[in-house]
Amino acid sequence: MTVSQDQDIPASGAAGLAGAGAREAVQGGRRVRRFSSDLSAVGEPALWGFGGALALGIILIAGFLALIAWNGVTTFWPKPIEQVELRDGTVIAGIPTRGGPYRVGEDVLARLDDAQRAEIADNAGIASRTLYKTANFDLYGDDFRWVSDFEVANITTPADYWYFERQVWGVFVGRIAGLSIDGQPVGADRALLRREHEAARDRFTQIRRLEQSEIGRVNFQIERERLAQRRANLRHGEGSPEAQAVVEAAQERIAALQAEFQTLQAQVNEIRARDRLVRIQMEEVGGRVVDVELSQIVRLFPANDLGLFDKIGIYLSRWWEFVSTEPREANTQGGVLPAIFGTVAMTLLMVIFVAPFGVITALYLREYAKQGRITSLVRISVNNLAGVPSIVYGVFGLGFFAYTMGGTIDQLFYPENLPNPTFGKGGILWASLTLALLTVPVVIVATEEALAAVPRSMREGSLACGASKWQTIRYVVLPKALPGIMTGLILAMARGAGEVAPLMLVGVVKLAPALPIDGFYPFIHLDRSFMHLGFHIFDVGFQSRNSEAGKPMVFVTTLLLLALIVLMNATAIIIRNRLKRKYADGQF
């Protein structure tokens, strides 16, 4: 701002011209008004502060998102395999993953020759190194190997190296030594390999489907018959005629089911027998050969001999595998479908529980309860609930929901299953109830605010029409408050979907391929444990045997979780905005 010269102007004019920012000063006994304001009055420095704070926040968030997005997006891109010859004669093959400088230890220095030592000494004892993903865990006992730059004699990228993603034991890096069908070696040309591989994977899925759906169903039914017998014995007393009748009927059905089981098993064995005859021999860089069924290879490609479209194809197929299949290899490979499903199902269940509970509580608190000391106390308590560490909710959920409520339910409705708990352990029902409890303060506070914001004139208009209090709330207040309530639900949903700590106690597990919803009666299994993307991140990144191998999965899973939360929030926001437009206040 410019500082103008002090001017002598009539006081009446100055008041109008200079406005609130004008400063009065006394000069030579005369009042003088100036056309300038204090810096503090204008608030410009504060504005810089606000802007700076916002910019800092945006940079942090954008940086965080960029880190996750970059790492997540690039993980599935196929990378070339390097063959590294070391000075001591060993040859390794692997994919460089990361590297950096490090301080070379004394024992390593002692083994080097003078020239190398001098070079490292020139660099103040620092050398750089690269981490190679050598894979072949079954042969090497590790997936990774550090290679220092001074060890390297020569790096090549031979075109005949293949990258095999196996069903078990993780990745294999090496050459194709041969392909055999019915014990006869056949030439491993790529067209034949591709055709045989597709057929082998088809067999694999067929076995999978038979084992999981068909045999799973038969097992499930046998188990149900067994439980029916126990229930009859418990109810009527063992050996009583009623129980005897039930047991006999059940035995009969079990016999039929077992026959069915045998047929299915025979089918599986038949496919297996065929499958065992199509094999691939893979040779690692050191010459050792691993011989497996071709169906055990999930994906194979010549990593150094790929066109752009091949790479895009592999990239997309890996993403598809990631979002559509179950995890393999202690969650470090394969997909996260059960975790996606568990996260979404649990969040939706939580919203189903928390929405009515929170809204009804807030309705009573704001509209019906007499405002006074007790309502204030309730309000303060609700707000304080939002500050309780979430793990405490987990403990409460485990103790109250799972053990007490679940235990009682088991005794009343599932006695035949005891001592195996049905509801008396962590499960998706208890997890979503625990999270509902965790997020209910958010919903209550938001709903109360939204209800308070409904203008008094609207309520009076309705009451004056002869509507009862409930009708007024139902037809006028609630619709008007709905966008605000939705905002509360969106916040609760975001909080709930990202929460992990309490879930570890009340139902989230490392691996639960059985989804809470499936084709077996009663279709929705709220007692089941489930997987959760948030816990998956923790588990893969910090709990697996080989966290280096899991690291890319951490980024991808985080990216997916963020995308999922954004998707759920965006849906809710779209719904809210639609409601807002519908109930937009158009007065004047």
Binding site: P455, G461, C465
Partner: protein
């Protein structure tokens, strides 16, 4: 009780109300008798006695805070929502005291349409706004609702403007239209009395003129009690005018007399603009 007689006792410190009302030919619609009202410890209305003539327009005037809105809102018991409210006296409708035991407030409000200071249509369609009083009463028959919408919108001089957009949101209308919609809603349950709390204070002169014209048309069919700050409006539309001051009824009489030749000096001061 006869409307013109003074029922004050000798202990009444304050000067008694001057009555010179114009009697309607249909008798009294609302008979307010010795009505006192307290908000907690603070007394807001003192011994108001005013018989509202059926089929006529009665205007309540007075400076801000004189209790005219409170009195109006007492007539359909909207003040019940206020905590710590206490009353004494009676408001008789058809021989029943609306503050008597066992009175169904909801049923009472259906007999008293109300129009507020600011237009307050609900966030619904025009159709749903007008039929709201019927729907909360359990009326679902389409033909009755349709008929009501047309009747009320015609009565509120809104039919021509609204008939093609009955299912659009009421919030898309102009302020004057919204207020006429609120009047239509106020008469939908076919009330005997229409209470208006400064119905034109948030409107421009043209909308105000329309509403005033509408009030003139509705008088006769409905008994109208309106609170207004505009003395010219009271003079234009009302038959009787009640002047209130500090919770007391000072003068209640024929509008022409109140404005041209008031009995009380205080009334004269107010209507001539010397105070208030």
């Amino acid at each position: 009780m006869t409307a013109t007689s003074d029922t004050r006792t000798a202990e009444q410190v304050y000067e008694p109300t001057a009555y010179h009302i114009k009697q309607g030919d249909q008798g009294v619609a609302l008979d307010i008798q010795d009505f006192n009202l307290w908000y907690g410890e603070k007394q807001a209305l003192f011994d108001n006695t005013l018989p509202i003539q059926k089929g006529m327009v009665t205007a309540l005037i007075g400076p801000s805070g004189c209790g005219k809105s409170t009195l109006l809102r007492s007539l359909n018991r909207m003040n019940d929502l206020v905590d710590g409210l206490r009353i004494s006296g009676k408001v008789m409708v058809d021989g029943f005291d609306i503050y008597g035991k066992g009175v169904d407030v909801i049923a009472l409000r259906k007999r008293m349409g109300m129009v507020f200071q600011k237009p307050n249509p609900f966030a619904m369609s025009i159709y749903d706004n007008v039929t709201y009083p019927l729907r909360v009463d359990g009326v679902t028959k389409r033909s009755i609702l349709d008929e009501t919408v047309e009747r009320c919108l015609r009565a509120a001089a809104l039919w021509d403007e609204a008939k093609d957009r009955l299912h659009d949101s009421a919030l898309g209308m102009s302020g004057g239209q919204q207020q006429r919609l609120c009047i239509a809603r106020g008469i939908a349950s076919d009330p005997e009395v229409l209470l208006m709390d400064e119905p034109c204070s948030a409107l421009d002169p043209i909308a105000t003129a329309k509403i005033e014209e509408l009030i003139g048309q509705l008088a006769g069919t409905y008994t109208i009690v309106m609170v207004t700050h505009s003395m010219s409006q009271a003079a234009r539309v009302s038959h009787n005018t009640a002047f209130m001051y500090l919770g007391r009824l000072i003068e209640y009489g024929e509008t022409a007399t109140v404005f041209t030749n008031p009995v009380k000096e205080r009334t004269s001061d107010y209507v001539t603009g010397r105070f208030g």
